[in-house]
């Protein structure tokens, strides 16, 4: 089911300036302006919305509807559903009596816009409210894991396991092990679970395989993950990166044949276009620049990881890439973040950064075959 294509915007997607007036026009009466999900009378979102408009708002319905909004936001890659969920949750979150599940949903929205500190505060509150809520623990562990705070993540992962959530708990723990020098143990933990239908497990296995140098295995896991969750942007980006590396550029462009490409996926498209010397690159770069200036004007958290990748692989501006990769490394420490920093520092032969990085690799035990140049 190609849900993503349901939200195709009109073809008049001319790149308009962020600043100042946009060109204004009067379309023909029958001009097709926007595609939205067709109205389905038994759409669960519509059903719940109708019930709530009828005055039947209670914590359970709010939780149901917010969960559906978040799911749809991801399926349709339509971030406005996050806004909608937040609107719905806000009055409930403001109350001291808010349940851990509602707090988890709000934390999910916060981390989605990379406001990790606020998300962690929200999750701390959720764990205090209900220490037995596995969702809060798991989300908190994952936020910590993404930021490289593996030791803080570990007790939450163990708690998730103790609460009987084997699959999620194992994946959580594997992430911790994988970040702390025990990739082999992490893989051993996850391998029996790889057919349990979790895109997360497959993405983790792909990450581990890649860091061991088994790129073919990594590619296979990522393809399986995407088969499960076509809208998993991280798996799609990671697969693009692997394919670009082995020169399978046509396959990358097939993966990127989607409406509403995110900033991160647009950067992958730019990398392919740069390698192919495709004149479409200038248009992609304009789109990226526009998204950057929009984010800047809005005061959003910048897409540092992808900006560093763009600077390094498309603009070949290692100085800028290093600055961005350093800033990114302060908040995100997954394999890709570490590699970007290492590549920029190696290009510039920046000894200080390389020494810091080496120190971090030694202290965490982070393993990655591609980082041997840093260790030496």
């Amino acid at each position: 089911m190609n849900v993503a294509s349901q939200v195709a915007t009109v073809a008049l997607a001319l790149v308009a300036s962020v600043v100042g007036a946009a060109e204004r026009l009067r379309p023909a009466a029958d001009a097709h302006v926007l595609t939205v999900p067709a109205r389905i009378s038994d759409d669960p979102i519509a059903v719940l919305e109708r019930q709530m408009r009828g005055g039947a708002a209670d914590a359970r319905r709010v939780e149901e509807l917010a969960t559906l909004y978040l799911e749809r936001a991801r399926q349709l890659r339509e971030p406005r559903y996050f806004t909608r969920a937040e609107t719905l949750l806000q009055p409930w979150i403001a109350s001291d009596a808010a349940s851990a599940s509602l707090l988890n949903l709000q934390a999910d929205i916060l981390q989605n816009r990379h406001d990790f500190a606020a998300a962690r505060d929200m999750l701390d509150r959720a764990v205090r409210r209900d220490p037995r809520n596995a969702g809060s623990r798991l989300l908190r562990a994952t936020v910590n894991g993404v930021q490289g705070r593996f030791e803080e993540a570990r007790p939450d992962c163990l708690a998730v396991l103790a609460l009987g959530e084997t699959l999620a708990g194992s994946a959580c723990l594997a992430q911790v092990l994988g970040g702390t020098g025990r990739v082999a143990a992490a893989e051993a933990l996850l391998r029996p679970l790889q057919d349990r239908g979790s895109a997360w497990v497959l993405s983790l296995l792909a990450d581990f395989a890649d860091r061991r140098g088994d790129t073919a295995g990594a590619e296979r896991h990522l393809r399986n993950a995407l088969a499960l969750q076509a809208y998993d942007e991280a798996a799609r980006s990671a697969l693009c990166d692997l394919l670009i590396e082995r020169g399978a550029l046509t396959e990358v462009m097939e993966l990127l044949d989607l409406p509403n490409l995110s900033y991160g996926l647009l950067v992958r498209a730019a990398r392919v276009q740069a390698l192919r010397r495709d004149p479409a690159l200038s248009r992609t770069r304009r789109q990226l620049a526009e998204l950057e200036s929009l984010a800047e004007r809005r005061g959003d958290v910048p897409h540092l990881r992808e900006q560093a990748m763009l600077a390094l692989d498309v603009e070949h501006d290692a100085d800028r890439a290093l600055t961005l990769a350093k800033a990114n490394f302060a908040t995100q420490r997954e394999a890709l973040d570490v590699r970007l920093l290492a590549r920029a520092a190696l290009t510039l032969k920046d000894r200080a950064t390389l020494a810091d990085l080496k120190q971090w690799l030694t202290s965490t035990g982070f393993e990655d075959r591609r980082l041997t140049a840093v260790r030496s």
Binding site: A16, V33, E86, S101, R113, L139, S262, Y263
Partner: protein, 376 residues
């Protein structure tokens, strides 16, 4: 599959199933969040022009069709395709929704009424572009508050671009700061003083202007004996340079002539090379006056670019231009005041004409050539 479970509600195995689903949603959340969505999240764009003294403020407010669709169901036939005719059918409703959430004031609240109703593209997405006419009966700084959709979510932004008699402004309205007030513009004297300082500072830190000036001054002391003669020659050269750059600075600042930055910067670097070369030949000294004037014209464009970088100057052309020019002259005089006594003392020595002058000119020529290469 997920929907099936959820619709079963909290009855049979409800809490366990819901908890597991929440977990998986949470796990996916982290993964999907790692790349950022491609199009704008919840942004509206407001452009206001208040440049006439008659109390009329022109506004266009671009609201995303997707967002409006949530507030006002635009898809009348429910087929998932929003046509322009369907949007126009809701014109009155959209207009009053927008005006209910817009406040325009100048000392007192202004009357607002809807004007035209068009389509604009922002960030590749369709937006309804509402023309709004505000009529203000009182005087005072312009004040805007546009809080449509703002109350509902922390990620909502209204990006505003305002042009008033005192300058151009941009801002982002957010739930934490839903109001913009035109800043009080500095007094004529304050802007004059500020730009005197800016002009002085620009010459002092602008090594290329300094280098050119010094090259013009170095030979003045060589062939003359009396202080009177030296001073007259200096006065002529500095005046020629000043008159020339004042002309082009004024032309550029009033937008009468516009030149791109790079060629101007290259020509300034070239002027240093030429002036240095002329210093090497005593016979060329008669060219120095035309040179000072000719390249003075070029340097004026350079000053204009510097002035443009300093930014919005409140629409007060005369104090800004006069201040900046006087600042430049003061800086030039300060250079002469330091340099002249030194040169007068040195010129008696045979070393000055035979060694120092050619060596210093060569050194600055080389620097000019390097700048030229860097700017090319």
């Amino acid at each position: 599959m997920a929907h099936e479970h959820r619709l079963r509600g909290p009855q049979a195995h409800g809490s366990q199933i819901v908890s597991t689903l929440r977990l998986i949603a949470a796990i996916l959340a982290i993964l999907v969040s790692m790349s950022v969505h491609g199009h704008a999240t919840s942004t509206s764009y407001l452009v206001a022009t208040d440049t006439t003294a008659d109390g009329n403020v022109r506004i266009t407010w671009d609201l995303s069709v997707a967002e409006l669709h949530w507030a006002v169901d635009l898809d009348d036939d429910g087929d998932g395709r929003i046509r322009w005719s369907e949007i126009e059918a809701h014109r009155a409703e959209i207009g009053s929704l927008a005006l209910d959430h817009l406040l325009v004031a100048k000392g007192g609240r202004c009357d607002t009424r809807p004007d035209d109703f068009l389509l604009a593209t922002r960030g590749g997405e369709p937006h309804v572009s509402l023309g709004i006419h505000a009529r203000c009966r009182t005087r005072g700084p312009l004040e805007l508050s546009a809080d449509l959709f703002l109350r509902e979510s922390a990620s909502q932004r209204t990006l505003i671009d305002v042009t008033t008699a005192s300058g151009e402004f941009t801002a982002a309205l957010s739930p934490g700061a839903p109001r913009w007030v035109e800043p009080e513009s500095p007094s004529v004297l304050a802007s004059f003083a500020m730009f005197v300082a800016q002009g002085t500072w620009h010459v002092w830190i602008g090594y290329d202007h300094l280098a050119f000036l010094v090259l013009l001054l170095l030979p003045s002391v060589r062939f003359r004996s009396g202080l009177g003669e030296v001073s007259r020659e200096l006065l002529q050269i500095v005046s020629a340079f000043t008159v020339a750059h004042s002309i082009t600075l004024a032309l550029a600042v009033t937008d009468a002539v516009r030149l791109p930055v790079r060629p101007v910067e290259m020509a300034i670097a070239a002027s240093i090379v030429v002036a240095g070369a002329l210093n090497l030949s005593p016979a060329a000294s008669r060219w120095r006056l035309p040179l000072a004037f000719g390249f003075g014209l070029v340097h004026g464009f350079g000053f204009a670019n510097a002035l443009a970088e300093i930014g919005s100057h409140g629409g007060r052309l005369v104090p800004v231009l006069a201040g900046f020019n006087i600042g430049v002259e003061l800086a030039q005089l300060s250079v002469i005041a330091v340099l002249l006594p030194l040169l007068l003392r040195m010129r008696a020595s045979p070393f000055y004409a035979a060694r120092f002058l050619p060596a210093a000119s060569m050194a600055m020529m080389l620097a000019g050539a390097a700048w030229f290469a860097a700017r090319a």
